[in-house]
Symmetry: C5
Subunit: 377 residues, 5 copies
C-alpha cells in the first residue's frame, strides 16, 4: 500500500484525473432527448461483448461477434449475462439496444458517462446506473467509470467504459457450482454487480484516509502551499465521491421498498445489505470531509503559529539590540569635552569603557529575564 | 471556449450584469394584485408573435400581425405553438391574454421578470415560469431572461423577453417529419422547451467551472483583491443560479406526481428526465459553491503564507544586521584611550580591525546556520 | 433613493432602532395567561377606530367614538372593516374585545407586540399576526410594527400600533367601484392587507441590498471598524427579518391547505400568490445573509491584504537600509590607523569614500531587483 | 437590572455555575434500570411536602408531615396539588412514589436531575420533566433546576430540587376565587406550571441579550482575552439552554396532537400557547447564538484591526527614521579628508551641516506625504 | 478520575487507538457476500462460550466446551443466555452459527468489527449490532469493541471481541432472585445488555468533557501546536462516537414502533428509556462538538492575541529607541566645526551634552504618554 501512496504524491494533486467540467462533450441544448451521444473518452479499440450463460448445472462463457449470436442462449431457460465493454461505438451499441428494444432515454443514459447514479424501473426492465471508483494498480491513483446494468426477466446486460477487471471475482464465483449466483435468478447477479461496485468504494476511501493522515503529518512539520493544494483537491474529490453515492442510496431504497416483479424477496434481503454499505460509505465520506475541514484549520493555525515564532525571534533580537545600539551611539557622539566639563566626561573616566560594557550586559540580562517570564524562550 | 473566458476576464467581475435589487421596478405595495407591470428592461423594439402550426403530416411557421389571426390555426385539430417575444408592450400583450382569457395572476407573473421559477396548475391550463441562463456568444458572459409557458389543450404559448435564438433547435426538429415533437401532443412541446432551457444551465455551469479553475490558478500565484472580488461575484452568481433552479425541482416533481389531464403518461417519462437534469444542475451548483468556499480559504491562506514569507525576510535581515551594527557601534565610541588602558584598547591592537571583521563573519555564519536549521532558507 | 441611503449612513448603524431585548415589558412569569399587557411603546395619543363599510354598490368610511357605534354597520349585509390604531390603551381596546367576544389569548397576542407572526384558526374567527416592516420616509431607516387581523363572517378587524399610512392604497381601491375588493368577501380584504404587508418587505430588502452594495465598495477601499459594525448590524437585521417571515410561511400554507369555512376557494388562489411572495422574501433574505457573510470574509481579507502591504513597505525599507547602515557604521569605527596598517586602511584610500558610496548604490540596486523579482514592487 | 449585569461581570464567566459533566453522579452502567439515584446536589435540609386542595368554591393549603395525610384530600372531588421540594432523600420520596404506585422509570427520571425535558404518557398519568432556568436575585446569575410534574385524574404532583419561589404567583392565583385555575381541572394546573417555567426562559434570554450587547461594546473598544472567555461561555450557555427547550417542543406538540383523556380540549388551546412560547424561545436562542458567532467574528477582526494599527505605527517610525539614521551614519564615517579630496569633502563645507539637516527634513516631509496618500495617517 | 486524565495526557493524542482506516482487513470487493471474515484484531487466545440459564426460580452459569452442550438448557422452558467472547476463530464460531441456523449476512456482520450499529429483524430472530465504548481502567483511554446480540424465542446469544467485564453487573442481577431480569423474558435481557452498552457512553462523554475543559485552560495560558493536535483528535473522536450512536437511534426506534412478536409491550416501555438515553448521548456529542469548534476558535484568537502582544512590545521598543538613536547619530557626525560656525556648534556648547540627553528624556516621556493613551501599556 506504501507504493500506492507514493504514486499519489508524485501525481500532480488530487486523486482523480478529472477536469470535471469544460471538456465534457454533451448533447447540445435543444437536441432531441434520447439522442445517444458518447460523452466520455474512448478507452478501448472496439466494443467487446462477453456472454455468460449459466444455471444451477452448467456455466458457459464466450465472446460474441454480433449480438444476434446471443439468441440461442436467451431462448433457453438458463440465465444470461451480456457484458458490454466500450461505449464509443454508438452504431455497434445500437445493434444491442435495438435487439433488446431499449427505451431511448436508457440508451442516452448508458453513453452519457457523467450521469448521476440512479435506479429506474421501466415496465419490463430495471435500469441501474452506477459510478465505479477503483484504485488503478499502476499509478496508485483513483479512476472512475460508469457502469450501467439492465435487468430483464432472464438476462442482465452490463455496460462498462473499459475492460477494467472489476468483475473478475464474479466470473470465478459463476464458475463455481453451488454458489448462490448459480442458484438464484438474474436479480441476484445484478445485486452481485452492484455489491462489487460499492465494495470498491471502501478501497478508495482507505486511500483517501491514508492521504489525509499523510497530509496531517506534513502540515504540522512544514505548512507550505502544496499541502494546501492537496487539501483543496481532497475536498473536491470527496465532493465528487459523495455525489456518486448519495443518489444511489435513494435508488437502492426504492428497489427494496417498491413492489418490483423482477426482484425477489430473497434478493431484497441482500439489497438491504448493499444499502447498508452505501450508507456506511456516505458516513465515511462525511467523516473524511470533516477531517479535511479540520486539516484546513490545522494548516491555518500552523501558519499562524509559525508567524508567531518568527515574530518572537524578530522582537527578541530587536528588543535586546536596539537599546544597546542606542547606548553605543551615545558614546559615539562628538561633544567637545574640552568645551565643558559636562560634555561626556564618561569618555575620559578610568573605568568608562568597562562600565559602559557592564551596563549593556545588565540590560541584556534584564531583557532575557523578561522574555523568560513572558515564556518567549 | 478560450475567447469566452477572455471575455469574462475583461468584463468587470461576476458573470451576470445584474444589479439584482434596487433598480427593480415593482408593483407598489398595496396595489391591485394581478396588475400586469413589466418589471424588466425593454429588449426589443416591438412585440413579435410567431406561430408554429404542426401535426404528424405538416408544419407551418408564420409571424402574426395580431393574435386574432391565430384563430384559423387554433380551430384545426393541429397543434399550435404561439411564441411571443418582447414583454414591454403591455397593451399588445393584453390582446393575447384577453384572447386566451388568462387568469390575472398569470398575466402579472409573465411580465414580472424577477419571478421565482414555478409550475402552477390552473383549471384548464398549466403555467410554467422558467429562468433561462445563456452564454452570450458576443461577450462570453452569462445573460438570463424569463421564459413563461402556458400549456392549453391543443396549444402552447411561450413568452420571452427578447428574440434570443435559444429555441432554434426546436424549430429544426419541428421541421423534420417523424420526430416525437411532431407525433406527440403539445405537452411534449412544453417538455421540449423546458428541456432546452435546463440544458443551457450546463453550458453556464461549464463557464463557471472554467472561471473557478482560472481563479484557483491566479490565487496561488498572486493573491490580490481583484481575485477576491471574483470569488465574491462567483458566490453571488451561484446563489442566483441556485434560486433559479431550486424551486423548479418541486414544480416539475408535482407535474410528474399529480394527476394532470393535460399531461400524458408518455411525456411524464420524459419530464422525469428533465427532473433528473435539474437535480444534476443543483448538485453541480452545490459542488461549485463548495469549491468557491474552498477558493476563499485558499485565498486567505495564500495571503497568510505570503505574509509569512515577508516576515521571514524581514526577520532574517534584522537578525543578521542588528547585532553587527551593534558591534560596529561599539568601536565607534569615543572613549579616550589616553585616559585609561581599559578604554577600548582593541582600537589600537595590531589586528584589531581584522579581528572585529572576523567576529562579524562568524556571527553572520552562525545566524545563517540557525536559519537553515529553522528551515527559513 | 439616494437620500434614503444617506439617511442610513448618518444613522447610528443597523436599520432597525431596536434594542430588541432588555427593555421589553412582558407578562411576568406565572401571571394569568391571556392577560392583555401592552408590551410596546405608545406611538399615538389615543386609540383611533376607523370604520370602512362597503359592498359592491357603495363605500362609506368614518371614525368611531366608541365601538358600539359599529353595530348598525355590522347588522347590515355589507362587509365591514374596523381599523384600530394604537395599542396602549388597554381599557379602550377591551371594549372592542368584549364587543366581539374575542378569546383571551387573542387579546394577549394583539398587544404583545413582540409576537412571532402566526395564523390561528379559532372556531368562528381567523386570527393573523403580522410584522410590518416599512421604510420611514423621513429618516430613511426601517421601522416595524405589529399588525393583527381578525377575520369574522362579515367583518375584518385590524389592529396597528400607530397611524402609519401603510394601508392607504387599500382605501383608494375600496373607494373604486368594481374592484375585486368591493366584489369579494371580507376574506379578500384580509388577503389584501396581508399582501400589502408582504409587499413592503421587498422595499425593505431593496434598502438592505443597497446597503450591502455600499458597504462592499467601502470595505475594499478602506476596511475600518465602522464597516464591521454595519456588517454586524446587517446580520442582526436580517435575522430579525427572517424571524418575521419564516413562521408566516407555515401559517399561510395552513390557510391554503386546511378547510376553513371563512375563506373561499377564489381567495385561496390569491393567498397562494402571497405564499409565493413570502417564499421569495425568505429566498432573498437568505441570499442577503450569504452576501453579508461574504462581506465579512471580504473585510477580513481586505484587512489581511492591507497588513501585507504595510509589512512589505516595512520590510523593503528595513532590507534596504539596515545593511547600508551597517556599512556606514563600519567606517565610523575608531580603530587607530596609526597602530597598524590593517586597521581600516580604506579610510585613507584616495577613492575610499566614493568606493564606499558606490558599494552602497550597488547593494541598493540589488535589493530593488530582488524585490522586483519577488513582485513586491 | 443594572445590578444584575454587574453581578455577571464580577462572576467568573458564563451564566451558569455548571461544571456540566465530570462531577455528575449517575446510575452505574449495568445497574438495574428504574433505580432511583439522586444525581444532583442537596439543596434543602429535608424534603418538604406542600398540599394545595381547591375547587371552584374553596382553597386550602397545608404542609404534610407524611404523604398518607393527603388521603382525605384525594378522596374528595376537589383537585389536589402536591408540591414536593427536595430530591435528596430517596427514602422519603419512595413513600410518595409507592403511595401513588408510580412506574420505576418515572421514579428514576424524577431524581436524575440531568434529564432532557420530556413529556411521557403512561396508562393513567402524564409525566412531564422540565428544566427551569431562573435569575438568582442575589447573584444576578442564572440557576437551573429540574421540575417534574405528574398529572393524574384529580391531582398534580410536582417535584422540585429546592424551595425556589418560582411558583408563588400560582399560589396567589389559586387563592383568588373565579380564576381559571380554580374553575378548570388539574390539567390546567399542569399547564399553568409549565407556562410559568417557560416564561422564565424569557427573563434568562433578556439577561443573555444584555450580556451580548455589553460584550459587543467592550470588544470594539478593547478586544482582550477575557471577552473571548465570555463569548465562549455564552456559546456554551446557549447550547445548554437550547438542549433544555428543544426536546420540550416535541413533547408539548404530542400533548396537543395526541388523544390523551387526561387533557381536555379547552386546555389544549392553552398548551398551544405554551408551544408557541417555546418556539419563540428557540427562535431567540438561535438568534442569540448567531449574534454570539458574530461577536466572535468581531473579536477576531478587532484584533486584526488593532494589529494593523500597531504595524502601521511601527512601519511609519521605521520608514521615517531608518533612512535618516543612515544619512547621519554616513557623516559619522571616519574617511580621512586629508588623504584625498574625494573623502567626504561635505564635512568641511561651510553650509555642510545645515544642508544635511535640510536634506533630512525634506526626506521626512516626503515620507509623511507618502503616508498621507496611503491613508495611514 | 485525576489519574485517568493524566493517562490521557501521556497518551499520544486522541482517546481512541484507532487508525480507523487503512489497516482494516475487509471482504475483498466481489467476494461472496455473507462470507464471514474477522476484520478486527485477535484479543483472546481462544473463543469462550459462557452459558447462563435462568428462570424465576433458579439461575445456573457454566462455560461450555462445545455449543452442542447447550441443547439440554435450550430444550427446557427456562431462558438461556449464551455469551460468546472472541471473534477470531471463524471455525469455532461457525459451529454456533450452524447450530442456530443463522442467516449468512448475520454471520458476516458479527465478525466484521467495523459495522455501523444496527437493528435488523429477521423472520425468527432480532439481530442487534452495537459498538461498546469503555474507559480502559489501566490506561485511562477509551477502547471500543463491537457487541452483537441475537434474540430468539427463548434465548439470547451475545458476541463480543474480548472478555471485557462490561456485562458483569448483569451477572449479579441474574444471580438475585426477584429481579425483573429473572421474571421477564429474553427480550428484557436483550434490553439490559443494550442499556449497559449505552450507559457506558456517558462515562466516555464525561472523559471527553474533562479533556475539553483541560484543553480550554491550556489554550488560554499557552496556545501551542500540541493543543491543536488534541483539538483535532477530539474532533475525530467525537465524529467516530457520533457515527456509533446515530444509526442506533433509528434502530431502537423501529424496535419500539414496529410490531415484533419477540418483543413484549412491557419491554418496549424500557426500550423507550434506552432510546431516550441514546438521544441524550447524541445531544451531548453535538454539544461537545460545538465546544470543540469553540476551542479551535479560542486557539486561533489566543494565537492572534499573543501575536498582538509581541508586536506591541516590538513597536514600543522601536518607536522609543529609533528616534533616540537618530539623535545620537546626529551628534556622531564628523562635520568640521572649524570649517564653519554652522557645523554643529552644539558640540562645543557648554551645556550641549546635558541638553541632548534632556531632549531624549523628553522624547521618551512623550512616547510613553502616547502609548499610555493608546492603551498599549
Amino acid at each position: 500500500m506504501k507504493s500506492a501512496l507514493k504514486g499519489i504524491k508524485s501525481h500532480a494533486f488530487g486523486l482523480f484525473n478529472i477536469k470535471h467540467h469544460g471538456k465534457v462533450r454533451r448533447k447540445k441544448p435543444g437536441e432531441i432527448p434520447g439522442t445517444a451521444i458518447h460523452t466520455g473518452v474512448q478507452k478501448l479499440d472496439e466494443v467487446i461483448i462477453n456472454l455468460h450463460d449459466f444455471d444451477e448445472e452448467h456455466y458457459h462463457a464466450t465472446t460474441l461477434k454480433s449480438i444476434e449470436k446471443s439468441e440461442k442462449y436467451l431462448k433457453k431457460e438458463t440465465k444470461t449475462w451480456i457484458q458490454v465493454q466500450g461505449l464509443h461505438d454508438i452504431d455497434r451499441l445500437r445493434t444491442i439496444w435495438d435487439y433488446f428494444e431499449m427505451h431511448p432515454l436508457i440508451q442516452e443514459d448508458i453513453v452519457s458517462t457523467s450521469q448521476r447514479p440512479k435506479v429506474e424501473v421501466y415496465p419490463n426492465v430495471v435500469f441501474v446506473v452506477l459510478r465505479a471508483i477503483m484504485v488503478d494498480s499502476k499509478t496508485g491513483t483513483l479512476t472512475s467509470e460508469q457502469v450501467s446494468i439492465v435487468l430483464g426477466s432472464n438476462y442482465v446486460i452490463s455496460f462498462q467504459e473499459s475492460d477494467n477487471p472489476i468483475f473478475e471475482p464474479i466470473f470465478r464465483r459463476l464458475n463455481t457450482t453451488g454458489t448462490r449466483l448459480r442458484r438464484y435468478g438474474p436479480d441476484y447477479l445484478m445485486y452481485a454487480l452492484m455489491d462489487t461496485v460499492v465494495d470498491h468504494y471502501f478501497v478508495g476511501l482507505d486511500l483517501i484516509s491514508e492521504m489525509i493522515e499523510a497530509t496531517e503529518e506534513n502540515i504540522v512539520g512544514n505548512p507550505n502551499p502544496s499541502e494546501l493544494h492537496k487539501i483543496h483537491a481532497l475536498r473536491r474529490d470527496l465532493i465528487i465521491m459523495r455525489k456518486s453515492v448519495w443518489s444511489l442510496r435513494d435508488g437502492i431504497n426504492s428497489l427494496i421498498r417498491d413492489d418490483i416483479p423482477l426482484i425477489s424477496d430473497d434478493v431484497k434481503v441482500f439489497l438491504r445489505d448493499v444499502y447498508d454499505h452505501v450508507v456506511q460509505v456516505i458516513d465515511s465520506i462525511e467523516t473524511s470531509r470533516e477531517m479535511v475541514f479540520s486539516l484546513y484549520d490545522m494548516y491555518m493555525s500552523s501558519l499562524s503559529h509559525r508567524m508567531n515564532e518568527v515574530m518572537k525571534v524578530l522582537t527578541m533580537i530587536a528588543t535586546i539590540f536596539i537599546p544597546l545600539t542606542f547606548i553605543v551611539g551615545i558614546y559615539g557622539m562628538n561633544f567637545d569635552p574640552d568645551a565643558s566639563p559636562y560634555n561626556m566626561p564618561e569618555l575620559s573616566w578610568y573605568y568608562g569603557y568597562p562600565l559602559a560594557m557592564g551596563l549593556m550586559v545588565v540590560i541584556t540580562a534584564g531583557m532575557i529575564w523578561y522574555f523568560y517570564r513572558k515564556k518567549w524562550l
